[in-house]
């Protein structure tokens, strides 16, 4: 556009393009402002809080530099929570991937009742999380657990009070397995449906062609299907990682980090430190340790999304 001098700028403002831009950015403003004010600013504020000694009782905070981060790095509870978080996320992620893949292949080809089965199998993902966790808390009850009833009737364990009676949420290793199990239970339908969406987007002719060329099922999966659906797998995995890393409700409601820190993860530690104990600065610092863990997932997603655009 040949814009020169003041007159040119003024007349540019009257062009249809300029009016479209003005209209467009006006429409965008409310959403952008809301997100900036309530996600962007709080995020920066949490950086500030993490470097202050702010607490619920004393609103005027003092700058303390990296003290809160150092304090976290010097406490054994933090390392325990970090280790649990990593073990929990990776372990549950692998299980969800395996179960989701199996389920996706079972649901891939048409069969009688496919829609009904699909609707039933995704129930764990669609129930509000607090609701289903309460159900599991009852099923893992120390005395009236239906799981234990079944195991006891199958003679795999003794009766209530016998030494091999598992207290799912009360024994350190079992408790960690139980919270992981509930996370897997909730997440496997999501993996399956995401994978299914990917698999159905692969043109069948390509798979058939590979079959004609003599590729085995595993070869077809690894060399033809996976590369084609890789972007979807990335996006699905990124979302699941973020959901899992940042979810507090499963652990909070089932064990609240117990017994004796065996199931403590960074979100519960951040909540208990920041809100329950009132040390806002400490809590903010602990929750920020999640950020480097989340970053790879976010970068992966960003790259996948941007690649599509170009």
């Amino acid at each position: 556009m040949a814009v020169s001098g003041r007159v040119g700028v003024l007349s540019w403002w009257r062009t249809p393009t300029a009016r479209r831009y003005l209209f467009g950015y006006t429409l965008l403003a409310p959403a952008v402002l809301y997100v900036l004010l309530l996600v962007g600013v709080p995020f920066l504020f949490s950086l500030y809080l993490a470097m202050s000694d702010a607490s619920v009782g004393a609103p005027v905070a003092r700058f303390v530099g990296l003290e809160n981060f150092q304090a976290a790095l010097q406490s054994t509870a933090f390392y325990k929570a970090l280790g649990n978080t990593l073990f929990f996320t990776v372990g549950a992620g692998i299980l969800k991937g395996l179960l989701g893949t199996t389920l996706a292949f079972l649901l891939l080809r048409p069969f009688v009742g496919r829609k009904v089965v699909r609707a039933l199998v995704v129930i764990p993902f669609t129930l509000p999380i607090a609701v289903s966790v309460l159900g599991w808390k009852w099923m893992f009850d120390s005395q009236f657990s239906v799981v234990n009833w079944a195991l006891s009737r199958l003679w795999l364990i003794g009766t209530y009070g016998s030494p091999d009676w598992p207290v799912w949420l009360g024994q350190p290793n079992l408790a960690l397995m139980s919270v992981m199990f509930v996370n897997v239970w909730r997440g496997f339908p999501f993996s399956a449906i995401v994978l299914l969406a990917g698999l159905t987007s692969v043109p069948p002719e390509i798979v058939e062609a590979a079959k004609v060329d003599g590729a085995s099922f595993l070869q077809r999966f690894r060399l033809v299907i996976v590369p084609m659906i890789a972007p979807i797998l990335f996006v699905g995995a990124a979302f699941d990682t973020v959901f899992t890393l940042s979810d507090l409700s499963i652990v909070y409601l089932l064990t609240n980090g117990g017994p004796d820190g065996a199931t403590e993860i960074l979100p519960t530690l951040a909540y208990n430190t920041g809100i329950r104990a009132g040390a806002l600065g400490r809590g903010a610092a602990i929750s920020l340790f999640l950020f480097p863990l989340l970053l790879p997932a976010m970068i992966l997603l960003l790259r996948t999304l941007r690649r599509r655009e170009h």
């Binding site: 997100v35 089965v117 609707a119 009852w138 239906v146 209530y160 996006v235 409700s249 809100i275 929750s287």
Partner: protein, 290 residues
């Protein structure tokens, strides 16, 4: 048709039966593990207490007549009615805020060929991934500055932080599918840009708008952390928080009422979410397919 049967030998009846049997056998464990908790919660909600706390009989059916007592308890001895009203009010206001911001934003990003629109869209969507666990401590300050602590209004302010990014992204994809021609025709007929949006584009976009309302509702129902952190007065709680915190007194669990209260909202939400699940999945993966 002989040729088709010849070209597709898989549809041979006995082979079909074998294939179905294998698929059903493979699916059976998945179905059991997915559905059993619902069944178990339902039967718990309907059993009398003496029937609930015993291990000597098969627990999968009633040994005493079923009862509505746990539901009665919920409605007469707790704030369950208030929690439902709170949840509905929160959902209503969150949906309203989300629609008022995400519809114009989604439209602008999809349609107006703005410089930087793609990056801005991705940027807004990425904020959906900034988790509550990082934001809840600073947002606690925001909530107390607005003097909304211990009121469900705090959740109305906070929930749009995840519904706006998600619904803007969803609606952006949706508006891209509305044909440009009808809009151009309207503008030729003398509508301005805003007129074309309100009179032509919005009326044909109601499926996208309804989907946004559904997600504002279901995503709000999935929250636990924000309500736990911001609302501690019994009458102000939304259902998931109320059920999870008010029906456990010390070491005493009201299991029957807990399950009743959880299912009463959980099942409707699960059904609605189920119907819109494909839209949710397309919303977050669609970007990777196209």
């Amino acid at each position: 048709m002989a040729t088709v049967a010849y070209r597709a030998p898989r549809s041979h009846p006995s082979k079909e039966i074998r294939r179905h049997t294998l698929i059903y056998l493979g699916l059976l464990p998945f179905l059991l593990i997915a559905v059993f908790p619902i069944f178990w919660m339902l039967i718990t909600a309907l059993k009398q207490d003496p029937d609930l706390y015993r291990m000597d009989v098969v627990p999968f059916w009633f040994h005493l007549p079923p009862t509505w007592r746990h539901f009665d308890f919920l409605f007469h001895n707790t704030f369950y009615k208030d929690w439902i009203v709170n949840t509905m009010s929160i959902s209503f206001w969150v949906s309203a805020i989300t629609l008022l911001t995400a519809v114009p934003a989604g439209y602008a990003l999809a349609r107006l060929r703005l410089p930087g629109a793609e990056n801005l869209g991705i940027g807004i969507f990425m904020t959906y991934l900034v988790p509550a666990i990082i934001l809840f401590i600073p947002l606690a300050r925001v909530v107390s500055t607005l003097d909304l602590q211990d009121s469900w209004w705090s959740l109305v302010v906070v929930y749009p932080t995840f519904t706006i990014p998600f619904c803007t992204w969803l609606l952006m994809g949706f508006f891209k599918t509305v044909p440009v021609e009808i809009e151009e025709a309207a503008m030729v007929d003398g509508c301005g840009q805003l007129g074309a949006l309100c009179r032509i584009v919005l009326p044909v976009s109601w499926p996208g708008i309804i989907t946004s309302v559904i997600f504002s509702f279901t995503l709000s129902m999935q929250d636990f952390l924000y309500s736990l952190a911001f609302v501690s007065i019994s009458e102000q709680k939304p259902v998931p928080l109320g059920v999870a915190t008010e029906l456990i007194r010390g070491d005493v669990f009201f299991w029957g009422s807990l399950m009743a209260g959880a299912l009463l909202v959980g099942v409707p939400v699960a059904i609605i979410y189920n119907l819109f699940l494909d839209k949710f999945i397309t919303g977050i993966t669609g970007a990777a397919i196209r």
